[in-house]
Symmetry: C2
Subunit: 354 residues, 2 copies
């Protein structure tokens, strides 16, 4: 069973609903890329030869509202394509499958569905590191800010006798090469399983759009601000360790299950799978010119991380430890941000099922 770390549900202070600004900025920018992909690359006629409805899956949808914005945007683009081809009469019904881990808060998701939505909604519980849909039953897959979660922390990271033992850190930034490699290998395995499953589920000609944190080819992982911030979160934990607030063994046995790949790595994985044609791949900065104040604010990073990571931390640490950790983080983060490039890059990939 892959590990499951849903975002914080409900709509409280630390909820994902209220703290997914950076993801939303990424989605806004990606909208243009998705629109173009649908306009230029999606073959609507062939696609619907065997179906009267167009089925879209959002993998790693969390609890909204981002997923609703994305799904409506995809549907508008597909409708527009029908219209621009003079096929307005043939616009199909749309069915959207909102999918996330079984422990995602689907009740909140369902209760916040837009009342006037241009689609039939369904929820699909389960890990995307495995099959979720029947064979050839989906026309369009969307996954935003999800695929960078790996299904498990690599075993050697936790093994004291391994050169990849990640002592005194909770992530691979600033760690020995072996640690980064172990993460990269796990990510590759997971993407392989992901692509295999989607290849079975997508109809021939069906498309998949992936958006995830990415890093430029050939640069160090420490150059991505998200990685720098995660490293800093680990160092706050080590400070607490030195003060006796948490044991060294507890920190050493905890690692964040995520990985930020480069375009080159993703191309290799897609080609190794062989079922998909890469229609477009690019890195983009969702908040260009570092305009967003959030990227300069330790508090904003705290809220961003807590909504997404508390689920992972809470399986390992007491809630007081987590509160203390996130209380310490903003000041240290603000200092670091003064001296760090805050370029955030997202990787956009559009694939077509061969």
């Amino acid at each position: 069973m892959p590990e499951s770390h849903p975002m914080i549900g409900g709509d409280g202070t630390y909820s994902y609903t209220k703290n997914s600004y950076l993801q939303r900025e990424g989605i806004k920018y990606a909208k243009g890329l998705i629109d173009e992909t649908i306009a230029h690359k999606l073959d609507i006629k062939d696609l619907l030869s065997n179906s009267r409805s167009f089925k879209i899956a959002d993998l790693g949808c969390s609890v909204g509202p981002n997923t609703f914005i994305c799904m409506e945007s995809v549907i508008q683009a597909v409708k527009h394509k029908f219209q621009s081809h003079g096929l307005t009469e043939q616009i199909p019904d749309f069915q959207v499958f909102f999918s996330d881990h079984t422990f995602n808060d689907f009740n909140t998701l369902f209760r916040s569905l837009p009342p006037e939505r241009p689609y039939f909604a369904a929820g699909v519980p389960g890990s995307f590191h495995g099959r979720l849909f029947p064979e050839s039953s989906v026309h369009f897959v969307h996954s935003s800010h999800a695929l960078h979660w790996i299904s498990q922390v690599p075993k050697e990271i936790l093994d004291k006798s391994s050169p990849a033992w990640n002592k005194g850190r909770i992530y691979y930034t600033g760690a020995p090469d072996e640690v980064g490699k172990a993460y990269a290998i796990q990510f590759a395995k997971d993407v392989e399983i992901f692509l295999d499953a989607r290849a079975k589920e997508l109809v021939v000609g069906g498309m998949m759009v992936l958006i995830l944190p990415g890093i430029r080819n050939g640069i160090s992982h420490s150059c991505a601000v998200v990685n720098v911030m995660l490293d800093l979160l680990g160092s706050c934990l080590m400070d607490m360790c030195k003060e006796g607030l948490v044991s060294e063994a507890q920190v050493d046995s905890f690692n964040l299950p995520m990985y930020v790949p480069s375009p080159k790595e993703m191309i290799e994985l897609v080609e190794r799978n062989g079922s998909f044609k890469i229609e477009r791949m690019e890195l983009f900065d969702p908040v260009p010119g570092n305009e967003a104040q959030i990227l300069r604010s330790g508090h904003a990073w705290k809220m961003h991380f807590r909504a997404g990571l508390e689920g992972v931390f809470s399986k390992h640490f007491a809630s007081e430890t987590i509160d203390e950790l996130f209380d310490r983080f903003p000041n240290k983060a603000a200092e670091k941000l003064k001296a760090t490039s805050t370029e955030t890059t997202l990787l956009f990939i559009a694939l077509k099922r061969k």
Copy 2:
């Protein structure tokens, strides 16, 4: 918007999960009828000409475990049909859509899905008194113990100036004819909307199996034990009213939104809709010979009702009133049961989309 009254979620004392024995007995008996219907009436070849997967919807699924038992049973019967026709190689993937009101506890449903299930699971939030699925996208619809819920209490029931004003009661048993008629008309409207929606959603040749409380043609509504028990629940509330524990106006303005039809009524409604052929219709007694002790126990009826009805009561009455009501009910029920026929009849209907 139709009213929404989900069963009690979670797995506490009064949860539907722990208090759906009678429904489960009905399902056990209906299994034989469903198996026969699939074996003799379902055209598997035609049905899958446009799809590689077989899609089943359970409407009014609540939170399990009944729905899991039903869905697995339907799938086994369909698989068996493929096998018996020498089509083992062509057995499709199955996708099950668990559907219920938006305020149903889907989190509990998803977290209790059988880990080794022979289908891909999805949840669909919304009222079945309206569209839930794309056009021609479902092959088999199942709905058990759900269609007797009407979408709203008829307005005239609450109108002091109407002959159908239901003063001093919470249900139509023992009420003037006008009350029963108003309920019957609302039920007919709802079933009309239900059948219209399903006619659009089911593929041609697709089948629908409905199981709901039913009453023999031509007999009084007061002859069904469930109706007698509901009437008694109302009289307990009136007792509390006389003791000043709840106001008369509060009781007069509350009515249970459900209706128990006869086979004759259902035949008329299906024929008026015109999209379905009736393949089988029968009344059956899920606990024949009154063997089940539950039907003689006031406490068992209390638990049965509370799991299903607390949602409705809680929108109108304070929780102390509901506690008091259900505390009073068992003794009075036990008395009544000594003198009442406890035959319970369920209506089974198998329809094929023309």
